[in-house]
Amino acid sequence: MSKPRPLLELASPLPADEAVTLEFDGAPIPARAGEPVSAALLRAGVLATTRSPKYRRPRGPYCLRGECGSCQVRIAGQPNLRACTALARDRLAITPQNRWGPRGLDPTGLIDQVFRGGIDHHHLVVRPRIANAVMQKVARTMTGFGTLPDPATSAAAEARQVVHTPTVLVVGAGAAGRRAARHLEAAGVDVLCVDRRDRATLEVAAPGPLPAELLRAGVFAAYPHEGLWTAASDPLEAPLELHTIHPRAVLLATGARDPLLPLANNDLPGVVSARGLHLLLTRSGSRPAVPVVVIGEGDEAAILGEALGAAAVVGPEEVVEIHGGDAVDGVTLKGGRRIACGLVALAPIPAPTHELAAQAGITLRFDGHGFAATSDERGRAIVDPAMPQPWTLWVAGDLRGYMGPTAAAADGEAVAAALLESLEGAR
């Protein structure tokens, strides 16, 4: 293995009192206390967090904001944690997952070369049965997710349930959610705003001040039949908490995330989300240490290109292929032009984060870029009449179709005002 090439660098020297050391696969990696672990990994040029399940290709951090699965690693004895949402602290031990054999020498990497035409898993070694049995055993040993957590680090004994009964639950503290929660707080409403992101990330993720009542937890389900929403605290923070929430009204502001752009070799380590990268740079006081190529759609691709100091900004239709091995090293465009780079930043038009809205029974509509939550003009959600509604449901911001932070903040304010009016009318 050649020495990894740093992909990011600090914009200014790290003060001694903020410097900590992580351990990645036993090797020391310098970090800033409290920054996302992914920032430290990219600065050290460490990309190999996992291998892909079928073709055994190397994979690294991609979305950089807690949406995808390719930076899942074992941290402090707990499996399947995302390096992009875990926060750095001294001696934090991180190990890659889904790896087989010694570090850097995983022989299963050859599968990508051997099966150049693809793997038909419906038929490969299904017969004879004896060969199938052997194949299953090999595949199970080689691949898969993390093993069980270390008993010594298990937070199970201290885990606790917390019951909340706010008047309004606001899900998401991005541009729309924080503005809505602030508006309701100012009117004296008992409002609980929940977001899985840490406070320092939220401060740079969107404009505007954060609400006073802000809970860091990932809302993982809506149960209309039980009148219940549930959220879980970050597994690296003690105590581990399960939040059960019974609100009278819910304002969903879950925002939007990046879909994948189907391009050749769009999975190589070093292919990242442009919006995620921009957020990570701001959050961690870093800048790119290698040329960046932005491949994007819509008006915002050029803006992101400028913000990232990109060597080039191109549309997906111009791209022939992304190149690289253990890390990306270039992009070939139609006409044969090849641009050398160390990071490829994808900027698709974001897709609404629709899953919780769907669970709550809100009708979805495909807007060409994602599945948007439907509502009346005031933001009151349109719901499936067959689904019980023990609350009133409202939607704001990018969840109604990507609109960007400025428009989302204004939308959060307007929907919160309509919600407030309905609460007062019901009194």
């Binding site: 290709r57 199970a156 349930q161 399960l242 990046d258 189907p262 599945f371």
Partner: protein, 105 residues
């Protein structure tokens, strides 16, 4: 690296494999999910659902006005068994069915 166009990175589903499914007349999001495993990995469709919906619409296999995603079941965010196991009655299941959920408030 072999040249591959991924639609779903979690489960290594390539554009070729989607084409293969379509050639077998599996042409809806649900059918393609079941045949290829698309959307069943750690991201649960966050990355792949939209590229697939766009592809089906572009090829005239789905209508933008009616295309819908596959079911989004809980959990939509990672949650540990330890956190789930901390639930107290009446949140713990069948044995508590006769109890009033209001009692938890």
């Amino acid at each position: 690296m072999t040249r591959r166009v991924f639609v779903c990175r979690c489960e290594d589903v390539t554009l070729d494999e989607i084409d293969h499914a379509i050639a077998r007349e599996l042409t809806t999001i649900e059918e393609i999910k079941r045949y290829t495993g698309l959307g069943t990995g750690p991201c649960q469709g966050r990355e792949c659902m939209v590229p697939l919906a766009r592809l089906l619409c572009e090829r005239g296999l789905a209508e933008p006005a009616t295309v819908q995603p596959f079911t989004a079941r809980p959990p939509t965010e990672p949650v540990t068994f330890a956190a789930l196991a901390s639930a107290q009655p009446p949140y713990t299941g069948a044995a508590d069915d006769d109890k009033d959920p209001e009692a938890a408030r």
